[in-house]
Symmetry: C2
Subunit: 211 residues, 2 copies
């Protein structure tokens, strides 16, 4: 059995954040498939034995069960000694961006992509609302990256891996990344890191129609 086991499905950018960290750190890991689109994460069994929050990813390691991508990234940084903070001030600066990612950046953008790009919901007041919120968050990250190569401390950290998770997917969202040139350049820097792979190469899609 591999050192790390990760409950993940390909369409989940939060799963990708964890899988990408495992790949970039050269960790020995294997995937536990999650049948998200048939409701596996919402079953009583999954919630009782794997994750009461009903979400992927979930990381299993040394008897521990870790959920929330931000916690998994924090844990893997400590275990591998890579992409983590240098001191407590930097740990909080990284945490600040991971919280911003969860609250404002991924939250709206991932939900927008889920509706428009995966469910093919079409346009609605909800997608317009989410796109407006996502655009505000993208502008803040784009501005932060003007004149910086990475989000914190001049080198790639788990703050980058968290924030970048969803922007490597190519499903339609009605947003143009070309409007955020610093994000585009930063994404290319992350894609150039040794061990980087695109989402569906790291974790196969759960939807058979994907490819």
């Amino acid at each position: 059995m591999a050192d790390y086991r990760l409950y993940a499905f390909g369409e989940s950018g939060n799963s990708y954040k964890a899988a990408l960290m495992l790949a970039l750190t050269g960790s020995d890991w294997e995937r536990v498939p999650v049948d998200y689109f048939n409701g596996q994460t919402r079953t009583a069994g999954f919630r009782e034995t794997v994750n009461e929050m009903g979400e992927a990813p979930v990381l299993l390691h040394k008897g521990r069960t870790l959920t929330q991508s931000g916690v998994i990234l924090d844990y893997l940084a400590a275990e591998t000694g890579q992409f983590g903070p240098r001191d407590e001030d930097e740990r909080r600066e990284i945490l600040r961006w991971i919280l911003f990612d969860n609250h404002k950046f991924t939250s709206y953008y991932a939900t927008l992509r889920f509706l428009v790009g995966l469910q093919k919901s079409g346009e609605s007041p909800v997608t317009a609302f989410l796109r407006g919120r996502a655009a505000g968050a993208f502008a803040i990250v784009d501005k932060h990256l003007a004149g910086r190569d990475f989000m914190v401390g001049g080198r790639p950290t788990i703050a980058d891996i968290s924030l970048a998770g969803y922007i490597f997917f190519d499903e339609e969202t009605g947003m143009a990344l070309a409007d955020y040139p610093h994000i585009l350049a930063w994404r290319a820097r992350i894609a150039a890191l040794p061990g980087w792979k695109p989402p569906y190469d790291l974790v196969p899609p759960a939807l058979p129609a994907r490819h």
Copy 2:
């Protein structure tokens, strides 16, 4: 000058989380008013000198500027030695709930309250969407609190202070807390902690029409 300075406005539950932590820990603090409803946090000056994320709360202490309520709670737990984790496993369990709060619990509920309770937007597809998402998150926290007094470790921690922030406000949201009996009982336990005060007693409202 007080030991801690907190940029905050009364209607902000995220500001309340930080202010409540300062109150519960008996810290010496003062408020820096934020004129949120006239756009202060969205000005170039605020973003350049206080918080590039354009948000309150912001904590000033010993030359540090800390933003994101989860970071402020983490910092104050370390500085005061109160409401923090006992070890690294517990630190990650607390972080897991703070991330869930930011991603799923506060995010949808706070936005719903902002639209329905403060902006008086009336019902729309967006409020219905937010209420459905908030209800799902409330059910997860309610279930976690069945048979537990507090979220982590059998005692109040910053996970509770983070998650409880918005449920002490009384503006209309179209959700009934009575549907979540374990959350209601937990809220009463938090309100019984020494030093607890309701939101607008700790931080005055920015909207003059409030009272």
